[in-house]
């Protein structure tokens, strides 16, 4: 986009730099993307999870590749090889705990990243494709995490795999053949474990590929910002380095402090004790629960306990669960509001925070047994989840009166700082307005 005026141009100074630039201008691409690239001057810490996620992806791939050197992908050896990693392999416990907790922190960051996008309207024109690429990454992450959880071949691994591949039997006629195609047999067994290991190794690299597209699309449209107003002039932006770089680095270190606390002091807090029991096809654990990051979707699956016409509760539950993710893809077209950021949408703000609370509540319900009042609450919660997207988003844009949106990012920033320091900055605001 022509409005994105860069802060400076790459000038190779060394002989090697000039030689490279004439042949493969990779340093130039890096300079343009991560040094001189203009970012809005008003970005807050909600805009830091993207960078964090790319670092987490690298960390997961690194620890994963190393763990695969010691892992045995067969039903006979899988469980013992994980214990072998924990006890015998040098620092194996650390690498495995980093990998297992890394998955959780990866999801924590991606949820915050998605909520950020929803709050500041990052999905709206012209960033629909950017948003959809993000949704694809999220789907790939879920598939990767699910298959990774099967690999230790514990009780939760086995029964989680049985339940999740069982989703496909909900579809009439084609369901059972599809399930057998996924499992490579009639039940979860050695062929299943082998192919899950293969795909678990493959998918992160596909995620990395989609991340490249995601960042490319981001750098074409430019980042959104808390005001939701597009970049209009160079005064609206600051160079990526040092401003965004140092901000992201600081947030990353804080994030790693939490991560390290989990890895070193409570590495199994987010896991399930049942997964330290070897898989047994004859005994189901008394309470099957997925990993915490799947709980809201699991609650939606179990909320549907009623049939509608010829559609069974089982099929409807599976459709609702898939639908809860599919609806994210069409979010850019469900929101009819002209105003991008929730900062200027008084009602959307309320419904958004309700959505967040509701999502957390669904997660809590997902961990409870599926009976009695929990089922009813899950049904209410599921109703709000879909109601938010299908009813509230389209209607609210038509009836809500938004607050006045500033003319530019610079105006918003200066208005804020003048409020803080009294009238002193007002002159500055006026003079910038004249310039614009």
């Amino acid at each position: 986009m022509s409005t994105l005026e860069h802060h400076g141009t790459y000038q190779p100074t060394t002989g090697l730099g000039k030689w490279m630039d004439a042949r493969l201008p990779l340093p130039r691409l890096m300079y343009d993307s991560f040094v001189a690239y203009p970012v809005p001057r008003n970005l807050n810490y909600a805009y830091t999870f993207g960078g964090m996620l790319s670092i987490m992806l690298v960390l997961q791939i690194l620890t994963g590749v190393v763990l695969a050197m010691h892992y045995n992908g067969s039903t006979v050896g899988a469980f013992t090889s994980v214990e072998h990693i924990m006890r015998d392999v040098n620092n194996g416990w650390l690498l495995r705990y980093m990998h297992a907790n890394g998955a959780s922190f990866f999801f924590a960051a991606v949820f915050l990243h998605i909520f950020r996008g929803m709050y500041y309207g990052s999905y709206k024109e012209p960033r629909e494709l950017l948003w959809i690429l993000g949704c694809i990454i999220f789907l790939l992450m879920m598939a990767t995490a699910f298959m990774g959880y099967v690999l230790p071949w514990g009780q939760m691994s086995f029964w989680g795999a049985t339940v999740i591949t069982g989703f496909f039997t909900a579809f009439p006629v084609v369901g059972e053949p599809i399930q057998q195609l996924l499992l490579g047999g009639f039940a979860v067994d050695n062929p299943t474990l082998n192919r899950f290991f293969s795909l678990h190794y493959l998918l992160p690299f596909m995620i990395a590929g989609v991340v490249v597209l995601h960042v490319w699309a981001l750098h074409v449209t430019g980042q959104t910002n808390p005001t939701g107003v597009e970049i209009k002039s160079k005064t609206d932006t600051v160079p990526f380095t040092p401003f965004a770089t140092i901000k992201d680095a600081f947030a990353l270190i804080v994030f790693f402090l939490f991560f390290a606390y989990f890895v070193f002091y409570m590495p199994n807090f987010l896991g399930h004790a049942d997964n330290y029991i070897e898989a047994n096809p004859l005994v189901t654990p008394s309470h099957i629960v997925p990993e915490w990051y799947f709980l809201p979707f699991y609650a939606i699956l179990r909320a549907i306990t009623f049939d509608i016409g010829p559609l069974t509760s089982k099929l409807l539950g599976v459709l609702a669960m898939f639908g809860s993710i599919a609806v994210l893809f069409v979010m850019p077209w469900l929101d009819t509001s002209k105003v991008r950021s929730a900062v200027y949408r008084p009602w959307y703000k309320v419904f958004f925070w309700l959505f967040v609370v509701n999502a957390i509540f669904l997660g809590w319900l997902g961990a409870k047994p599926a009976e009695g009042v929990y089922t009813f609450l899950a049904q209410l919660s599921t109703l709000y989840y879909f109601g938010f997207f299908i009813v509230i988003l389209p209607l609210l844009g038509l009836i809500e009166t938004p607050r006045r949106v500033p003319n530019s990012i610079t105006e918003a920033v200066l208005a804020k700082s003048s409020k803080r320091s009294g009238g002193a900055a007002q002159d500055a605001a006026a003079s910038t307005d004249n310039k614009a």
Binding site: V163, Q180, L181, F186, D189, L282, T284, I288, R302, A370
Partner: protein, 184 residues
């Protein structure tokens, strides 16, 4: 260069058009043929299918009121011997008590061996192994999502929509059961 000739030339298929279409079609057929083995290899392989041979189950040690779990094709199956009371409680259930009605005779072993119930041990909801319970007329409940089955594996309530399926089986004698075929 007259306009008419050009239009005529554009409308008539040329040898190059023919080669485009022919190459494209052969390419699609070729790609599909190559894709097939990649998909086909995921289906249950010969070793998995061979492991699906019928199995013999010795019933001598099973008393009325007991249930054992056996494995066929890598999946668990319940073999349960009912008491007179349990059969009676299951017989009292009517069409309104369950989500998928099946007459009790169709669920039991047969004339000579009607105290036996042989059903899949994977819940028809999402495949967990239900727990054997004895709160008549309830015979199984699933710990995962709360489906409840009667003494003969018929679905009473919960998210599962269908009864526990019956595998093909045959009694070769009063104390020997074969699961995996209904041919004696």
């Amino acid at each position: 260069m007259s306009d008419t000739t050009t239009t005529e030339n554009e409308e008539l298929p040329t040898r190059r058009d023919f080669i485009y279409v022919a190459t494209g079609m052969l390419g699609v057929i070729g790609a599909a043929s190559v894709a097939w083995p990649f998909i086909d290899q995921m289906r249950p392989d010969a070793a998995v299918l061979a492991a699906g041979q019928p199995i013999d189950v010795n019933l001598e040690a099973v008393e009325p009121g007991q249930a054992i779990t056996v494995t066929w094709r890598g999946k668990p199956y319940f073999v349960r011997r009912l008491t007179e009371d349990e059969i009676a409680s299951a017989s009292e259930l009517g069409e309104g008590d369950m989500k998928e009605f099946a007459p009790i005779e169709t669920r039991l072993g047969g004339e000579e061996v009607k105290d036996w119930v042989i059903v899949s041990a994977n819940c028809t909801h999402l495949g967990c192994v239900p727990k054997v319970i004895d709160t008549k007329p309830e015979g199984w409940n699933c710990p995962c999502h709360g489906s409840v089955f009667d003494m003969t594996g018929r679905i009473l309530r919960g998210p599962a929509a269908t009864n526990l399926p019956l595998p093909p089986y045959v009694f070769t004698s009063a104390t020997n059961l074969v699961i995996g075929t209904d041919q004696a």
